[in-house]
């Protein structure tokens, strides 16, 4: 497996663990004020079932290495810890223990991670504030990180054009965009947050899962072009093996919080779509 340790190791993860403790003080019974409109919008009822268990070991010691410019797909049944791993690497979740190295820079604690690693969510539409215009959404990473230097030289039109969106969309509301356009805007926003010149990692947390076939095909082409232009490293989280087999240089299989198998793509083409 010598092809892996190419000179520039983009990402290295050692012994990553994450456990959730559901604390419930017996005194403060949460009065469940069920608000229909909020629940319908959130659509995450299934994740609520996890809170019934008292302690959940989401990650049980994950070791991972990823060369720059390559694409790693992580597949596995739901609840195997794929999303938790992705959020830990992207700095959205603080792991219980373990280290995450980007080149020679540690990504823990998560403050500096956002310049090197960005995550595109499962439902790109939900990761865009409906009250924002397209320009606001695109500029938010720069405004949030208060890096005035980069925001001055960043042009919205160029950011949109990079992902194939017409510049005329700039002042429409994000809620008025179509599914495909929202996905492209989410990618454009992630690119705006990353260092324009340095190496960077883009994590796609099942972002291509629920798309129409044509829209997904266009997104695949966009992601492949971007990888060539900006030497991006992709981590593709998905439960759809055929998508992983198509996109990735390597596929890692996760189950119950650890990586159980990891092989380069060429050896995957033959097998049936079920893991």
């Amino acid at each position: 497996m010598d092809s892996l340790n190419s000179p520039r190791r983009a990402l290295a993860v050692h012994g990553l663990t994450k456990t959730y403790h559901a604390q419930r003080s017996w005194l403060s019974l949460k009065r469940i004020e069920f608000n229909w409109s909020l629940c319908a919008r959130s659509k995450k009822i299934d994740s609520a079932r996890m809170s019934y268990l008292s302690v959940v070991h989401a990650l049980r010691g994950v070791d991972l290495e990823l060369p720059a410019g390559k694409t790693l797909a992580i597949v596995g049944p739901s609840g195997s810890g794929k999303s938790t791993l992705a959020r830990c690497i992207a700095g959205l979740l603080q792991p219980t223990s373990g280290e995450i190295w980007f080149g020679d820079q540690s990504l823990l604690p998560a403050r500096a991670a956002h310049r090197y690693v960005q995550l595109v969510f499962q439902d790109p539409g939900a990761s865009l504030n409906p009250r924002f215009t397209v320009a606001d959404a695109l500029l938010e990473p720069l405004r949030a990180a208060q890096s005035s230097t980069r925001s001055s030289c960043f042009s919205v039109a160029e950011g949109l054009q990079q992902v194939g969106l017409p510049a005329a969309l700039a002042n429409r509301l994000t809620s008025q965009l179509s599914g495909g356009q929202k996905a492209r805007l989410a990618v454009a926003r992630a690119l705006a947050a990353l260092d324009p010149d340095g190496p960077a990692i883009l994590i796609l947390d099942e972002s291509l899962g629920s798309m129409d076939l044509c829209v997904r095909a266009q997104m695949i082409n966009l992601l492949v072009d971007l990888q060539d232009q900006r030497a991006l490293t992709y981590i593709l989280i998905s439960h759809d093996v055929s998508l992983a087999a198509h996109m990735a240089d390597e596929i890692a299989v996760m189950a119950e919080g650890i990586i159980v198998k990891r092989e380069p793509r060429v050896s995957w083409t033959g097998i049936s779509p079920h893991v």
Binding site: S178, V215, A217, I220, H274
Partner: protein, 328 residues
């Protein structure tokens, strides 16, 4: 198939949503027929108007939707039927399997009672008899244990909830089941199981199934006939074998090429680009005058821009494209 044997004949059905001043023609001049015992697949991307078509047949669209055209179902004209006759048909003769299993079940009522409520709505049976029929329907869809019957929706998995919805749909032995993306939010295994279940139930009942989906690979295993919908129009329909293997309409061809396993054929291993249709769905409020697919179509003709193609017969398939019949 002679005239009398047709279960549902839809002629020139159009649905136009009115949002303030803008009019959205979501379904335009749909004409198709469904025969008893037939499984018809309605294929189209999200936003092509397929769910609206299903809800239009059951007259469940909001008031802001204007309905035109006719839909005759076993001698009853659905578009003019009164609310009373519609209530007798919904759930008893035409039933509906929704898309979101998560939110489509009443969270505070046990599943057995939700299924027996459908029976009670259509028969004069007593509570006990309704519950027995509901129990039988739940067993038929694979939820055998009594504990499952008495459980609440949030205690069941996505696949089990979908089975309850199917039980609701088949408990009063309908002759037409409309399933809107029944496997949309399920993972691979339960998707195949639900499709197999639907197919076997429909055969047992001798009912016909209108299966709505955006994924052609689902239809390959289940559908007898396939209708492809784009921007509110049926652009191509025909037997499943011809439409999926040898599509005539450029849109169908492009759609099937987006499938990964077909896109992979004949490409060098490390070139991961896939063939895709350029551009995006047209905006319903400003549809182009000619064929809606014309801006994205590779083999467009000059006349495609002026007029909307008329559906013509080509072999066993019906196709709405000037490639198969120039305008007179």
């Amino acid at each position: 198939m002679s005239e009398s044997e047709i279960l549902l004949r839809v002629d020139d059905l159009s649905v136009t949503y009115r949002a303030g001043e803008t009019y959205l023609p979501v379904a335009r001049n749909l004409s198709f027929a469904i025969h008893p015992g037939e499984v018809v697949g309605l294929l189209g991307e999200s936003g092509s108007g397929k769910t609206t078509t299903a809800l239009a047949l059951l007259r469940l669209l909001p008031k802001s939707a204007a309905l035109k055209g006719r839909a005759r179902f076993r001698g009853v004209e659905l578009m003019e039927a009164s609310e009373a006759t519609l209530q007798k048909i919904r759930g008893a003769q035409i039933s509906f399997v929704p898309q979101e299993p998560l939110l489509s079940l009443n969270p505070v009522i046990r599943v057995i009672h939700q299924v027996s409520a459908v029976v009670r709505a259509h028969t004069r049976l007593t509570g006990r008899q309704c519950r027995d029929k509901a129990g039988a329907a739940l067993e038929q869809v694979g939820l055998a244990s009594e504990r499952l019957h008495r459980s609440y929706p949030h205690q069941l998995s996505g696949g089990q909830r979908q089975r309850v919805l199917i039980a609701q749909a088949i408990v009063s032995r309908p002759s037409l089941v409309i399933a809107d993306e029944p496997t949309g939010s399920l993972d691979r295994e339960s998707e195949q199981a639900i499709l197999a279940l639907l197919r076997s139930l429909v055969d047992q009942l001798g009912a016909s199934l209108l299966l709505i989906t955006h994924d052609p690979s689902i239809l390959a295993a289940v559908a007898d006939r396939v209708m492809v919908m784009y921007a509110g129009r049926i652009v191509e329909s025909g037997p499943q074998a011809e439409v999926l293997e040898a599509p005539l309409h450029p849109y169908t061809r492009g759609l099937l090429e987006c499938l990964l396993d077909t896109a992979q054929a004949g490409r060098t291993p490390d070139d991961r680009h896939v063939r895709a249709i350029e551009g995006s769905l047209p905006d319903f409020s400003s549809l182009p005058p000619g064929c809606a697919f014309e801006p994205r179509c590779q083999d467009r003709l000059p006349c495609c821009r002026e007029a909307d193609p008329v559906t013509v017969l080509s072999g066993a398939q019906q196709i709405a494209c000037f490639l198969y019949g120039l305008p007179q």
